[in-house]
Every structure is written in C-alpha cells, then in structure tokens.
C-alpha cells in the first residue's frame, strides 16, 4: 500500500517560474525599442494649446523643433518672465532662427532637406507677436512647412 500513500506528501507542485525571465525580457526589449531619450531638456514652460483637427507628425528625422514659452523658474532670474525662444539647449533671439534652421537643415541627409517640417511648440500663454516674427524668419529661409504642435482636445478649452 505504500504505493498509494506516497502520493500524499507532494501536495501542489510549485508553478515553474523558469520562463519568467523570458517574459520580462520580452517586455524589456519592447520598452527599450520604443524609448526615445529626450535630447534637449526644456528650459521654457511648454503647455501646448488644444486642437481637434490635428495631423500626426510622422517621421521624427524630418522635424526641426522650436520651443517658445516663458523661461522656467530657475532661468527667470537671468532671462526674465517674457516668452523666449529655445533652440536646442539654449535661449535664442528671433534673428538666430534663420541660421539655426539652415544649420539643422545642413545636418540632415540630402534627400530629406526639402521635406523638412518645422514644429512650433509654443506655450499657450505666448503672444502672437513673437510667433509672427518667427514665421517671418522661417519664410526668409524658405522653411515654409510648419506644424503648430498641440495636444488633442477641444479647442475651446484654450479660451478659458
């Protein structure tokens, strides 16, 4: 009868966790591939306005970013509280935009140089005067394709 009593001492067998590392690695690789490290830290407040009729910006390599907004707390002592332009990692004046666009354009491969989009990431508290100056600068270097980057949402939320 020892044959039957033997079974009793091994109650529930433990679930094999041998494949757990595989699953975790799978997740890990997923996140590693979709991660985009930020290449420039924001030095301006950047709450974008909402809009509903938006189009997605495909292909990140064809986009040049321009940030506009009031400098964040730590920079306010030096740069004041008026909205400023941020190009890459530093503050810039309006007249530097032309040369910035040309420099960025020159960095891109030849075949992309004509299809670049300039993404304007502008804080919603900024005034149009600055934007108009930027637009004028962009026209001068023939960077005519712009994208006013916004959040998706009801545009009327902007007015409150």
């Amino acid at each position: 009868m020892a044959k039957f009593t033997k079974k009793k001492d091994g109650d529930l067998p433990a679930v094999s966790t041998a494949s757990l590392p595989d699953i975790v690695f799978m997740l890990l690789f997923f996140f590693m591939t979709v991660t985009t490290m930020k290449d420039s830290s924001l030095m301006v407040a950047n709450t974008l306005p909402n809009a509903s009729e938006i189009k997605k910006l495909e292909k990140k390599d064809r986009v040049i970013y321009i940030y506009v907004g009031t400098p964040t707390q730590e920079y306010q002592k030096v740069f004041g509280t008026e909205p400023k332009i941020q190009l890459n990692d530093k503050f810039a004046n309006v007249d530097e935009i032309g040369s910035f666009i040309l420099a960025e354009r020159a960095k891109k491969p030849q075949e992309l140089q004509n299809v670049l989009t300039t993404a304007l990431k502008v804080d919603k508290e900024a005034n149009m005067g600055l934007i108009t100056d930027i637009k004028q600068q962009l026209r001068e270097v023939n960077a005519l394709k712009v994208n006013y980057t916004t959040y998706e949402g009801d545009a009327f939320n902007n007015l409150q």
Partner: protein, 201 residues
C-alpha cells in the same frame, strides 16, 4: 569522492530580478509621444509675379484683436460660430458652377469653393491659444466640407483617408489608390488660408 559532473549549474533564479530592474528603469524613462498638430504652409517670401485681382466677395476676412475678440466680415462674432459661417462662406457657390455645394448661393458671398479665400489677420498681442483655436475652427470648416464630400463619393471620412495616405505603414497599393481620391477631394475644396502681415497697432 570528487565530483564528476563538471561545473555546477549557475543559479538563474535572480535573472528575473535583474531583468525586472532594467524593465522598471525603461518603464520610468519612456515617454511614448507622437507629436501632433495643425499643419500649415507659410506663404513664400517672394511676391507672385502677377498681381491677382480678387473680388472682395471671395475673401472671408477674420480679424483677431488683442483681447481675443473676432471681427468676421466686419461683424463681431463669437468663436463658436466661426466654423459655421466659414463653412457657409466656402460652399456658397454664387456662380452656380459648383454642383456639390449646398450653400445659399448668396450673390454677395463667394463664387466658388476654388475661388474662396479665407484671410486671417491677428494682432501682435493676440494670445497664441486664441490664434490656435481660430486656426482649428477654420481648418475644421474645410475638413467638415471635405468629409461630407468624401462620405458621399467614397463612403469614408476625408480625414481618415488622408491619415491613411500619409501613414508610412499603409501598403503602397492602398496609398496609390488613396492618392487620387485625396487629391480629388482636396481640389473640390482647396485650402486657401492666407495670413496677412500682423497689424502693429
């Protein structure tokens, strides 16, 4: 007695912990962001060679002042009504040559969607958020009309057709098919949104 089985197996039990550690690091640092926004073309800096005479009735003027108030065709207007009146202007079709327009054919408004121009003007002190709202409503007016025609002709929205056309993951056979359709709808209601120089006072 000496061991004969060779090197003992390395305990892989902590592998999961290490992987979890890495996973959590990437989870925290990840920002999955796809930027989206309003696409616009700026006018080229060189003025056109020939002066084009545009009839006043084909221009729909929108003026934003520094307080965010709208002056549309010389009348004060609430932003919420802008889309409706822009749509009405675009598909007015006063000369009767536009078969797909459902407008009122008001002789004092635009002749034809292909001739209708929306002119947007803003003050230097206009807030950016107001400007984006107005842009959104004007683009929305075009999209509404285009969607309507796309629904009638192809049974789907223009905006989804265009998004599929621009999406690089759409197979090229589908893209070629969409290209003509998108072009056709765009030609029905060409987006003529002019932005004049900002007023300084």
């Amino acid at each position: 007695m000496p061991r004969r089985k060779g090197a003992p197996e390395v305990n892989a039990g902590s592998m999961a912990d290490i992987a979890f550690l890495l996973l959590i690091f990437f989870l925290v640092t990840t920002t999955i962001e796809t930027d989206a926004g309003l696409d616009r073309m700026l006018p080229p800096i060189e003025p056109p060679d020939t002066d084009v005479v545009i009839k006043q009735k084909n221009i729909f003027t929108v003026n934003i002042n520094k307080n965010g108030q709208l002056l549309v065709e010389d009348n004060l207007m609430d932003i919420k009504d802008l889309r409706k009146s822009a749509t009405a202007f675009l598909e007015n079709g006063a000369d009767g040559s536009c078969a797909y327009c459902k407008g009122k054919k008001d002789p004092s408004s635009s002749d034809n969607p292909t001739k209708a121009i929306i002119s947007l003007k803003n003050d230097r002190e206009t807030k950016y958020s107001t400007y984006i709202t107005v842009q959104n409503e004007l683009v929305g007016a075009y999209n509404d009309l285009r969607n309507r025609e796309a629904q009638r002709l192809y049974g789907q929205d223009f905006t989804t057709m265009e998004a599929d056309y621009l999406d690089p993951e759409t197979p090229s056979s589908v893209r070629d098919d969409l290209k003509d359709k998108v072009k056709r709808i765009q030609d029905m209601f060409p987006q003529k949104l002019s932005e004049a120089e900002t007023s300084t006072n």
